[in-house]
Amino acid sequence: MADATSGANPPNAVLAAISRFWTSLDWPLRIALALLVVFVFVAVFGPWISPHDPLKGSLRARLAPPVWQDGGSWSHIFGTDRLGRDILSRIIAGARISLTVCVLVIAIAGVLGTAIGTAAGYFGGWCDRVLMRLVDLALSFPVILLALLLGAISGPSFTNIIVVISLTLWSQYARMARGETLKIRNEDYVDLARTSGLSDRVIIWRHILPNIAPALIVVATLQVGIVVVLEASLSFLGVGVPPPAPSWGSMVADGRSYIASAWWLCMVPGSAILITVMAVNLLGDALADRINPALRGRNIQ
């Protein structure tokens, strides 16, 4: 079935572009994109659309089941936790945490990794060798352990998990940026820029970065899922986002001991993670296919 908006002659070019993009997607991708839009919307407007306070509960309403179960009510669609806090509101607040962590980590790791990778690829020589050894080192450090170590030393904190996840993920940008820079470093237009006397800084900013950007965007997309899962895992282990902030991972950890009597405590936040990450991965793969088919099947770390 063709999409309804594509036949309706949209009023301006932006809408036309959007609808063309939409019709070019197959159904799984449309669902994934819709889910992702919901995720971002909920994360951004969370405090205004949340039905209850995610941090305050009432002990009278503790462990209320979700609405489709016996004894559930519409006031708590996904039920409440052991302190009577509304799970839907906590999921919404958790989306905000996940998105914040994603944006910060991808910004930090992306800038750091791109700078190092581009420098290594552009200048080559010993600079390349030293920087790439650094990348190998970063790749051979088990993330979760680093997080546990930092968590044990200074206690769980928001800054810690941003630092830890960024420290592990920058190397992927560095590898990609280096490889892509090597490919175009000796192209005619770069040589021309060099012989016309432009400084290395200008060449990198104006000629290298715009050309390697698509590949880096693919890396960033493929990393969103990794970041969400890592943040949730660290919070599950108690070294991530400190309580009482409702990270999806710590919600699962909270519900673990109630699994036999109140399964929704674990299942709802877990499903939120699964659905979000699946949507992002589907879109990431599709994007990778469009921009650079060679990347497909390689995002396994």
């Binding site: 051979s140 546990l148 170590l149 044990a152 699962v252």
Partner: protein, 307 residues
């Protein structure tokens, strides 16, 4: 070939050395071990004595060299929490449980993943292919701590087929190994599928068919042999995923391995053990990568002829 192996070994040793520096300084610079060990009620005299006993009044470089020297002889200090046992002894007691779990998980994922990947590529766009792609997507998206809880809930609590936790008999391995392996299974299925698809469309496969070889020989011998090279390159990564995953999976299933030891010693703020576990796991990690590099040189003829 020997040259490449030697170079890789030297690189691995340098990585290990750098790693020990990172771990040492991380745990030194971010916290005062004396305050941590003694707690709040300590007198000034206690603090000075412990500082001297631990060698903390020495310059930091000397401290690091002492730490390194002791670590090389297997002395990582004694556990603060677990009855003053040597940290290394605690780790060694837990290592077999971790290695056997990772071994079972890896063997299972290799066999199933390769089978699945090959079948999906041979019957491109069939039901098997769609199932393989679905498993690849879900396996790479599901967080393992949650998967473990769900499997435990379904197969142990609801159906009662398998034990929720425990260690010793084969039944105990099923759920933790499945949880630990799903991510790698997804990755191997994907890799094998995409490289098999590439191989099946190549010239040498056409030649093999023209020569009149049977279809099963073409697929399982000629196409698969080449499709396995990317799997081998990623073996180090798979091992890494298994090791980091072990911390989570062992915690969920109360598995008595080093992953849970790491988690427990962190909760107990048992510093010598934390330091030792992180160093041991990182070493395993680097050694595994070294072995994969060597294996790569051995199986790929193009690498063998160099150096």
């Amino acid at each position: 070939m020997f040259k490449i192996v030697a170079a890789r070994t030297v690189e691995a040793l340098i990585a290990l050395l750098l790693m020990s520096i990172v771990i040492f300084f991380l745990s030194r610079l971010t916290g005062d071990p004396v305050a941590l060990l003694l707690g709040d009620g300590a007198t000034e005299a206690d603090k000075i004595k412990l500082t001297r006993d631990l060698g903390l009044d020495q310059p930091i470089v000397i401290q690091y060299l002492t730490f390194l020297g002791k670590a090389l002889t297997g002395d990582f200090g004694r556990s603060v929490a677990a009855g003053n046992q040597p940290a290394l002894q605690l780790i060694m007691a837990r290592l077999p449980a971790s290695l056997s779990l990772a071994g079972v998980a890896l063997a299972f994922t290799m066999v199933v993943g390769i089978l699945f990947g090959v079948m999906a590529a041979v019957r491109h766009n069939s039901a098997v292919d769609i199932a393989a792609r679905l498993i690849a997507l879900v396996g790479q998206s599901v967080p393992s701590f949650w998967l473990g809880i769900v499997l435990m809930y379904v197969f142990a609590v609801q159906l009662g087929w398998l034990p929720t936790s425990g260690y010793g008999r084969w039944e105990h391995y099923v759920l933790p190994a499945a949880t630990l392996g799903l991510f790698t299974l997804a990755a191997i299925t994907r890799l094998v599928r995409s490289s098999m698809l590439e191989a099946l469309g190549s010239e040498y496969i056409k030649l093999a068919r023209v020569k009149g070889l049977s279809e099963s020989v073409v697929i399982w011998k000629h196409a698969l042999a080449n499709s396995l090279i990317p799997v081998v390159t990623f073996m180090g990564t798979f091992f890494a995923v298994m090791i980091t995953g072990a911390v989570i999976v062992e915690t969920v299933f109360s598995w008595p391995g080093i992953g849970r030891l790491a988690y427990e010693s962190i909760l107990a703020r048992d510093f010598p053990v934390v330091q030792a576990v992180v160093l041991v796991i990182t070493s395993l990690f680097i050694i595994a990568n070294l072995l994969v590099d060597i294996l790569y040189v051995v199986i790929d003829p193009r690498m063998r002829s160099r150096g």
